[in-house]
């Protein structure tokens, strides 16, 4: 029996989709490690503003949110609450100000809201206790790390940023030979 590629992919989607309806999986399912789907959706929109797609991929294509989510379950696990509470408060502010979720707003409106966040120009009870600019620069830095850092941490998918900057990778000049340890012992003695 032969099966063409399209049908095979359709089958895969069905199989994957059916996992969602396993009886044990009740409530909101998140495919992220730490983030909820709502948080990831907001964060995707914010990070895409920080590094937008143009002729080269942007933060979303590079997997920046995957990077942040991965670090929040690892090296940045101490920042979970900063993310969780900050994202919630920022979304709340956006809804009150515009009547819509940040993700649903026009590009320029989003940019303006983030500039307000960056400059502490944001009128919301949460940001009286917490510094808005610090929250923004945390996301800004993590976005840069996810986009420009090594893919081993979950971002910079397929080295998109290296390709954009035209940095050859892997970087091999000449011969890449590992010297056996025993040889390193045989060193020059005056």
């Amino acid at each position: 029996m032969s099966i063409n590629r399209r049908e095979f992919l359709k089958g895969l989607t069905l199989a994957g989709g059916s996992l969602l309806f396993f009886p044990a999986c009740k409530g909101n399912i998140s495919f992220w490690r730490v983030l909820t789907e709502e948080e990831a959706s907001l964060l995707t929109a914010i990070t895409e503003q920080i590094i937008p797609a143009d002729e080269d991929p942007g933060a979303t294509d590079a997997g920046v949110v995957n990077f942040i989510d991965k670090q929040l379950s690892g090296f940045y696990s101490g920042l979970k609450d900063s993310y969780r509470n900050g994202l919630e408060a920022f979304q709340d502010y956006c809804r009150k100000k515009t009547g819509a979720n940040f993700e649903a707003l026009a590009w320029d409106v989003q940019t303006g809201l983030l500039k307000d966040l960056e400059a502490n120009r944001i009128d919301h009870p949460y940001w009286e206790e917490n510094t808005a600019s610090r929250f923004f620069s945390m996301i800004r830095n993590h976005t840069m790390q996810g986009f420009y850092g090594s893919p081993r941490h979950g971002g910079n998918k397929n080295y998109v940023s290296y390709k954009m900057m035209r940095i050859d990778y892997p970087h091999v000049i000449g011969r890449n030979i590992y010297t056996p340890r025993s040889e390193t012992l045989n060193i020059y003695q005056p």
């Binding site: 143009d54 942007g58 840069m144 420009y148 900057m165 890449n176 390193t184 012992l185 005056p190």
Partner: protein, 552 residues
């Protein structure tokens, strides 16, 4: 099981401890070389920028880890906070065999003769502890040579008219300039300056059984994948081990130097790799844990005769913490100036190191190491966009058109810039942690302004169409990777910690053999000087040992 008694323990396997241990072992002394980190290689972290020693946002590839090590930092307003090794304020070097010499940029500078007599050259600077060394350049010269040949340096001194006299040429020829090096060379010549290839602790030709460098862009901050970078971990430490006299005991945290009633050291207490407390007795204790950790260990080693810590009866241990006030200028060019020949830094001038009108000291200027992409996201002129389309465009279009020139201004030491031990905070093992406080001397800003201005001139002469300065110095904690000065050597026990041989004035079988000894830190990256000091102190210990076995 009790540890076998040894002649000497050396604490710390970096630029100072490695050479010292090798000198002792080669002279027949039995040695345990303690290292709190472990043996490391390139493979583990590869060329991962985010945990390199230069960009530590996801941790330090070569240690220490943040689960066991932390420090307290006090800012200028007196606020204190706990900092972890991946955070800037921690002043991290590295914790692994070789320490910083495994992953450094590997510049191999000799200090100039003036650097050893700063007070005589420039007089007293108000509010500083500027002083002459008790030894001169000539005293250290043979040990610079030893470091250059036994660890390995490539360079071409004759091209630098300011270079001090040497008895023996460098063992390896210099590295060729990359593209930006060639551009800067011509520009410096036109300015009437004296450019030359930076001496490097890196193999330009196969040397000492290890291959030549193949010019990676990821050099500084990383271990070398082909072992072409020369650190203590692939030179003097293997030699020390090969004598059969030296055991390298890794993942051990030394807690205290044990002192007897007569005020002599009997060995050290430490925590082994299983965090069990252990004792290693020894006739001689050599401390080489970096300016921060060496001071901390002495201060934590209290006894009846030394209630404020070993060798600290005059309150000089931990004082005069200094580093380098790094200062820079950046230039954007119309054409690409990047040819992907690493590590980037290759050309320097010493025209502004000493004998600059109105300036105390000075420093070298050199082109900068190749920044990795994340580091480059912070390379922007004042007022440029920090994010969004404009920031991305800059990253895409300017990365290969940017040259940075920077240099380490020689900091003017002061008494209140210091390492002490925190009265309350303890580390994983319960050892009081280092507490860093004080600030750079206000003078440093002036020197940095001079150097950044010269750097900018250089870039403009080279054809940059847009330039900006990033001026260093200014108030803030000193130290950093070039930390030095906390156990100053001197002739008077009331104003220094050790004598001219690195021997504590008050405890004749305890020595310091690292950057802590430095009286003033030069306008140079200090690694080669620390190595020379390691050989120098080790040589004199071995000498004294032959006569008296250091038993008074």
């Amino acid at each position: 099981m009790r540890n076998r008694h040894v002649n000497a323990v050396v604490i710390g396997s970096g630029a100072g401890g490695g050479p010292a241990a090798k000198e002792l072992a080669n002279n027949g002394m039995t040695v345990v070389l303690f290292e709190r980190g472990d043996w490391q290689a390139f493979d583990e972290h590869n060329d991962d920028e985010l945990c390199s020693q230069r960009t530590t946002v996801l941790g330090n590839a070569y240690g220490p880890d943040q689960d066991k090590h932390w420090r307290v930092v006090v800012d200028s307003r007196g606020n204190e906070r706990i900092v972890y090794p991946h955070e800037g304020g921690y002043n991290n070097n590295a914790a692994c065999v070789g320490s910083g010499t495994l992953s450094y940029g590997a510049m191999a500078w000799r200090f100039m003769p003036e650097d050893f007599r700063m007070k005589s050259e420039y007089g007293h600077v108000e509010g500083s502890t500027l002083e002459d060394w008790p030894i001169s350049y000539d005293d250290l010269e043979p040990f610079y040579t030893q470091a250059e040949w036994e660890i390995g340096v490539a360079g071409a001194d004759p091209q630098n008219p300011f270079v001090p006299d040497r008895k023996k040429p460098l063992p390896m020829p210099p590295f060729e300039y990359n593209l930006e090096g060639r551009i800067l060379f011509e520009a410096a010549k036109r300015k009437g300056w004296h450019p030359f290839p930076i001496p490097m602790l890196r193999n330009s030709i196969p040397y000492a059984g290890r291959p030549a460098c193949y010019r990676m862009r990821t050099c500084v901050g990383f271990a070398c994948p082909v072992n072409a970078k020369c650190g203590t971990q692939n030179t003097v430490i293997p030699v020390a081990m090969a004598t059969g006299n030296c055991e390298v005991r890794t993942r051990c945290q030394v807690a205290e130097i044990m002192l007897d009633d007569k005020g002599r050291a009997t060995g050290v207490k430490y925590f082994d790799r299983f965090n069990k407390p252990q004792i290693q007795t020894a006739d001689v204790v050599v401390v080489a844990g970096s300016a921060t950790e060496t001071a901390r260990l002495l201060l934590n080693s209290k006894s009846k005769l030394f209630p404020a810590g070993a060798g600290n009866n005059y309150d000089w241990v931990g004082r005069n913490l200094q580093g380098h006030a790094y200062t820079a200028a950046f230039g954007l060019f119309d054409d690409e100036v990047y040819d992907d020949v690493g590590p980037g830094a290759c050309i320097a001038i010493c025209d502004f190191n000493h004998h600059v009108d109105g300036i105390v000291g000075g420093g070298l200027l050199a082109n900068e190491f190749i920044p990795m992409p994340y580091l480059y996201t912070g390379t922007r002129p004042p007022g440029a966009a920090g994010w969004g389309k404009e920031h991305k465009d800059f990253q895409r279009n300017q990365f290969k058109k940017t040259i940075a020139v920077m240099g380490p201004f020689q900091e003017i030491p002061n008494f209140e810039s210091r390492v002490s031990v925190d009265p309350a905070v303890k580390d994983f093992w319960g050892i009081p942690v280092a507490r860093l406080s004080g600030s750079r001397h206000p003078y440093d800003r002036k020197g940095c302004e001079m150097m950044s201005a010269r750097a900018e001139e250089w870039l403009l002469e080279a054809g940059a169409h847009f330039t900006w300065q990033r001026i260093g110095g200014g108030p803030g904690l000193s130290g950093g990777q070039h930390q030095a000065g906390t156990c100053r050597m001197g002739n008077d026990k009331k104003t220094s910690v050790t004598n001219r041989f690195g021997q504590l004035h008050e405890i004749d079988n305890v020595f310091v053999a690292d950057g802590s000894l430095v009286v003033t830190n030069g306008g140079f990256n200090p690694a080669l000087t620390i190595m020379a000091l390691g050989f120098y102190v080790g040589h004199h210990i071995a000498d004294m040992w032959k006569g008296t076995r250091l038993k008074s």
